[in-house]
Amino acid sequence: MKRAVLERLATGRAAKQPLSLVTRLADGAQCLWDSRHRQGELSLTPQQAAEVQSLLVAGRSAPLATSGGALFARSYAAPPRLLVVGAVHVTQFLAPMAALAGFEVVVIDPRRAFASEARFPGITLITEWPDQALAQIGLDAHSAVVTLTHDPKLDDPALVAALNSPAFYIGALGNPRTHAKRVARLSERGLGELIGRIHAPVGLDLGGRSPAEIAVSVLAQVIQIRNRGATQ
């Protein structure tokens, strides 16, 4: 691997830019593919470039069928995102755990006493209102939204934004009674059928009660839905 290729990959990864590295296994010749342009000593046929692109979109690495297996495409897809509303105690565990599991984590809480750098070292914090923050971020099909504040003033706007987005996972902390009230409020706002997309109570039932245990159950459910879909 040429030094320039490694540098480009590292900066691309840091910027969450989707990139493919294509390698000819016979001699190690390589090129990078950024969804539009090819860069490097290895050339690709239009068919090969199209296969590299479709693998990149799928987030899969594989030998290229269009090269008879002579070329291998390593897809570095943009990481999935976890947007956590509420810089609460559970979030102090959930955010670093999710970052370790490969998520780009953003914690949103307009209460600056909660969303402080000291409480969340190295985690991206946004201190806007959740609906503004989520609009700014732009939710897509690789986004998961979890609300943990217990406060409808903060949770509800985030849930409305999430329900109106293609986010692959939406979860809200709160017991069944809290959730029933939430369903009533969101129904009044005309979100009817969409409300079923909310996982509540949030997380897999692991029987844990501590903030760290709840964080594990939430992260486990997000990973499960991401890998297996919402039919679980």
Binding site: M1, A10, R13, S75, P80, A101, F103
Partner: protein, 107 residues
């Protein structure tokens, strides 16, 4: 999942910047049951330190020693490990799968 390759590439970059010889190993093919998916990386520096994985720990030792030779020679190698291939490699995969690993020097 996905944060891990960026850490591994970052480590490769740091070792190169420190003037260390570095090789990058990548799973490029798997057959049968194999613990790591194609694309999984293991990065090795000249002293034998490594980060990442290409299996559940079964073949890392062998890949690291091959990587040290790749660093010394400056040429890539394509390795294959599997239970049915013990003549070529002393190391087998306990899981019964087969895995192909590309090891390349980082310039």
């Amino acid at each position: 999942m996905t944060a891990e390759p960026s850490d591994i590439l970052e480590q490769a970059k740091r070792w190169r910047e420190a003037g260390r010889g570095v090789a990058l190993a990548t799973v490029v093919g798997t057959w049968g049951s194999s613990p790591r998916q194609p694309g999984s990386h293991l990065v090795v520096e000249q002293g034998g330190e490594f980060v990442g994985s290409v299996s559940g720990g079964c073949i890392e030792g062998a890949v690291v020693s091959e990587a040290l030779q790749v660093i010394a020679e400056g040429r890539p190698r394509l390795l294959e490990f599997g239970v049915s291939n013990e003549q070529a490699w002393e190391v087998g995969l306990a899981c019964g799968g087969k895995v192909q690993v590309f090891v390349e020097p980082v310039e």
